[in-house]
Symmetry: C2
Subunit: 205 residues, 2 copies
Amino acid sequence: MNDKFFDLPKEKQERIINAGFRVFSRNSYKKSPVQQIADEAGISKSLLFFYFKNKKELFLFLMKKVEEITTQALLASKCYEASNIFDMMYLGLQAKVGIMKDYPDITNFSVKAYYDDDPDIRDDVRKIVQPYTQLETNQSIPPLDPKDFKEGIDLRLMYRDMYLASEGYIWQMSQTGVIDVARILQEYKEMIDFWRELYARKENT
Amino acid sequence: MNDKFFDLPKEKQERIINAGFRVFSRNSYKKSPVQQIADEAGISKSLLFFYFKNKKELFLFLMKKVEEITTQALLASKCYEASNIFDMMYLGLQAKVGIMKDYPDITNFSVKAYYDDDPDIRDDVRKIVQPYTQLETNQSIPPLDPKDFKEGIDLRLMYRDMYLASEGYIWQMSQTGVIDVARILQEYKEMIDFWRELYARKENT
DNA sequence: ATGGTATTAACCGATTCGGTCAATGACACA
DNA sequence: TGTGTCATTGACCGAATCGGTTAATACCAT
């Protein structure tokens, strides 16, 4: 790709990136016209081909951009340093909501790209996604110390409950399109506090 | 449309319907080729145009089919007659899983169709979906009697928790594609029993 | 004016699309 | 075997769309 892309004003770069996320998230790779990306970015198709030598390069650039954005945001959120599972989940979702405010279609884009089996891109996508797959805040249960929680709670099911509800949250958000960060975070905080009250052991010395 | 479609063996009808769900769920209406639907259904494009006079008619037929399938399945599940919220949610999800076994792409299809704003179909889609939108097992909280649940539980948040987790469940399912009904229902039953233990008042006379 | 850079309109060959239609296959009955 | 009926298809069409190129233009500092 042409490095002059990075000399563009940040705002224009992001307009192009978001246009790419948006168009590629609505159709498969093959069925996503470069022309439409250019239109939504407010530039000409020729200019897009000036910065990216072809459609594939643009697509893979966006793919890598997803990885960069998410890893950086999760790191900055300090969710990995949280002292308990509730803060951890809140910070994690806070980071994701922040991302989706700046890049509303990034979630749908990455899901779509991941499952696209077009031979033109399939292998390259796998290669980019692979190291990133394991790291992600995942369905795998983090280490939980039973003495932090009320007695008799099945920690496996507790975590599954919270994990699935969070996924449901993000999914709803990615569908409706409207992302009111403040409202969403306040609602999610209610949810987290509800869980904390429900699950956490209080009489902690 | 040509009524002879309904004279076809049920299995062939369903093959065509599922092919339609699948193709239309992966791309927008405009970008979904009729040829591909015919291929996945194992028939010729000409035959598809024999049963449906054009692409739009086929699409709207599928749209109505979604409504028919879901309302009928939810009714048959008797989830509306359940005596408590836990049974109700279980029966509801059981019905949806059953649907997704027979029609793996129906969820993604209906979501995609709902948000497709192609002027060729937009208005007709709204017209079909409208009466169906209100009925659906929704985010709106069903009437819950506080004396059925443990004291101090915020019923609004309790329901939101369960609702979102269920949505998360369905979303995960619709993505992975593999639908192992038995395993999923057993896992969900675990989840429901966990909630019942957590939320329901036990010392019921 | 001049020179360099960012940006575009116009264009191209190839492909794909929705839709049509004449031809073929399958099967029943004579 | 001949014939009629009906389901099904291959081949085709004009129009539209696609990715990508290129020569020309707009912009701006000197």
